[in-house]
Symmetry: C2
Subunit: 196 residues, 2 copies
DNA sequence: CGCGACGTTGATTTGCCTCAACGATTGTGG
DNA sequence: CCACAATCGTTGAGGCAAATCAACGTCGCG
């Protein structure tokens, strides 16, 4: 693990997009963060476990997913650089959750532990604002997603997603993209065969 | 309009579920709030307009929806007593939004205006925490909803929703419930005809 | 090299939609 | 207070988007 002091720079830069942060506040913040590198396919959370942390992605790509009755995996969220990813439901209730979180690529994350989070927020109350804004955007995006799921066909959603995130589509296997968009890999394959 | 000082009690009580609030802070908060009563079918936001406020529901029931290409309405959210409802996307970007918000029943709301919101948060920083927690729950619920949309059939989603919110199902017309759950009124009617 | 993971293609099936016609209920103006 | 229209829910026939199942090609990796 490459433990120099630049590990947290991406996160600090991200925070400063939303709020100002003095050098002193930065220093206070760092002890609450843990840096971790993840191998491809490594999990940070497994379905049925209590979620104990929030995860900021420095590098790489993670997915949050859930097992369905027929044994397949349903992806509900992807996370890439500069995104926070966690099971907020389990994190909030501290009960076993329904989601697993796993690295799709070799990745690096910063971990913010639940058990010290409130103490951190007491020391740097501004961070409440930062996370409020982060969550507001995440929620807005999630509501938009529900709208698209209901108003657009699978094919339309695929085309829009590809147009919006062309570089991301290259990074993940097609069967994961299909799962995230809510249809089967076979169907995605047929869409691509048509117009291409 | 019944303008006595109890208008904001529901909201104050809701805030105090998440954070403490002194009498003095309460007094500082009140000037930033506006109380409004809504007739059935009255709008607080129309698609294509910039969203300028967040809305806390004191009484009644509202829906957020969007017009589809074929002219029908897609409901993306319901709100009842003690819920905040707004188009966070438009509220954040201050660009025209994709959603309308309308009272389904005669309702009463408290309005928190965007243009004074930051000033309020500067006076009572604790409120950042309150909204962070509110948004965290809303986001968690939205992610769960996406999961159910993808992993359960329409019929299953209807049964689960009915079991989870039996009293709410009574309050809204079936065609709105069908829209929220992502299928047609005809289909909902056929589900009910089966097992009943 | 050989195996397992991933993507493709085709045949068939199905969950839900569309369209249309028809009761029941609500509400509104005369 | 009634008449009539509009709104809402129901039912049935037919159609379509996407799922399922199965077989096969290809590539990367141990």
């Amino acid at each position: 693990m490459n433990m120099d002091h630049t590990m947290f720079e991406n996160l600090l830069a991200h925070i400063k997009r939303y709020i100002s942060l003095s050098d002193e506040e930065e220093k206070k913040l760092l002890p609450y963060l843990t840096y971790k590198e993840l191998k491809k396919k490594e999990h940070v959370l497994k379905e049925g476990k209590v979620c104990t942390a929030n995860h900021f992605i420095i590098k790489g790509c993670l997915r949050m997913y859930s097992l369905t009755e027929n044994g397949t995996e349903q992806i509900v969220q992807f996370g890439i650089e500069n995104w926070w990813i966690t099971d907020y439901m389990s994190l909030d209730t501290q009960k076993p959750g329904q989601f697993s979180i796993q690295a799709i690529e070799p990745s690096a994350i910063v971990i913010l532990h639940k058990n010290t989070q409130d103490e951190l927020f007491r020391k740097i109350p501004k961070l409440e604002r930062y996370f409020r804004l982060v969550l507001q955007r995440a929620y807005a995006a999630s509501v938009m997603r529900v709208k698209y799921i209901f108003t657009e066909s699978g094919e339309e959603r695929f085309r829009q997603f590809t147009n919006s995130f062309p570089e991301f589509v290259q990074r993940v296997p097609q069967y994961m993209l299909a799962s995230y968009l809510g249809f089967t890999p076979e169907f995605l394959s047929k869409i691509r065969a048509k117009k291409n």
